[in-house]
Amino acid sequence: MIWFAKVAAAVLAVLTVLGGILWVDVTGRYLAASQARTLVGEAVSYADLRIPTIASEDARVTVGVLFHVANPSPIALEIRTISYKFYMDNLLDTRAFVEKADSIYVGSSGFFSDTEGQTVPAHGEGWIWANLTVDGALQPETLSRLNRTFYDPPKYFPIIDAGMVYAIAGTSLVDRVLDIVFVTQSGVMPYDA
């Protein structure tokens, strides 16, 4: 083999090896990220919901919502935002949710990260509190909507509609999950009851 053919063979071999290394790296991340994007929608849930007993009409009430994010994929996720709308269902109002949503809406809140978000490791779990505060002195109507219990002992019947924005670690991909809905059939006891 003549010298320039040897040089060409060496260049070709180097390019192939470099390309192969880059390809394995990117394809592995592409597969992992695809798996994450497919599975994460089913992996977000509500781990806890804390609504206290409302003692007075001007009370300042903090509702705690604990989100649980399971990451079944082999790549870490960064939770950037979890936002939700909080409703307190009125069981005496028999209209469909869409029709009565405005009248039972309490407020919106969420977890908003100003940096890189909360990391959920690969094959790991993460818990994120996102609290909603209602000040009865400033928002008496909102507090009255929140302070709606049924049965004895009294139970709340909240409805939460959340959405999550997350980034896939090591990539520039940012995706979202919508319609993370919490609805209870049996109601929620005041956590301090």
Partner: protein, 147 residues
């Protein structure tokens, strides 16, 4: 004699496969810059540079072959590269991670565009073949051993 000929053909096939892998992997990586490759590559620059460089290398390696045979090998290398890009694009489906790429939110038009862009490998690579062969012709015949 026959053994030498078969050995030469196997070696030629190896060069063609290496060329296909080099072009296919680099262009595929450039397409997936969102997935954070170790070296960020631009699609345009990669499609211009890598097939040209690989084409020149193949032109130099196959400097003794007839031009139609060189073009055929270049074409085979490009076909292999485009196949590799296609396999990369559908890797999540082939790996059983997702039933279809639509589940990832990517549009058909975007996927078609990436495969269509990969077709540009062919003319650039063939141009590289011609340039490589031309470079080989520049060197005096005495520098090249007879076949």
């Amino acid at each position: 004699m026959t053994r030498d000929r078969w050995g030469g053909r196997w070696l030629d096939a190896v060069w063609v496969i290496l060329a296909a892998v080099a072009m296919g992997t680099f262009v595929a990586v450039a397409h997936y810059s969102a997935y954070g490759p170790m070296v960020p590559l631009g699609v345009g620059e990669t499609i211009l540079a890598v097939p040209l460089l690989v084409g020149i290398a193949l032109g130099l390696l196959f400097h003794k072959t007839e031009p139609p045979a060189l073009v055929l090998r270049g074409f085979l290398a490009c076909a292999g590269a485009i196949l590799l890009i296609f396999v990369t694009l559908y890797a999540p489906v082939f790996a059983g991670v997702v039933p279809s790429l639509a589940d990832l939110g990517s549009e058909d038009a975007a996927r078609l565009a990436s495969v269509f862009t990969a077709l540009f490998i062919l003319p650039i690579h063939l141009l590289g073949n011609v340039i490589g062969r031309g470079i080989a012709e520049v060197f005096p015949p005495t520098a090249r051993p007879s076949a």
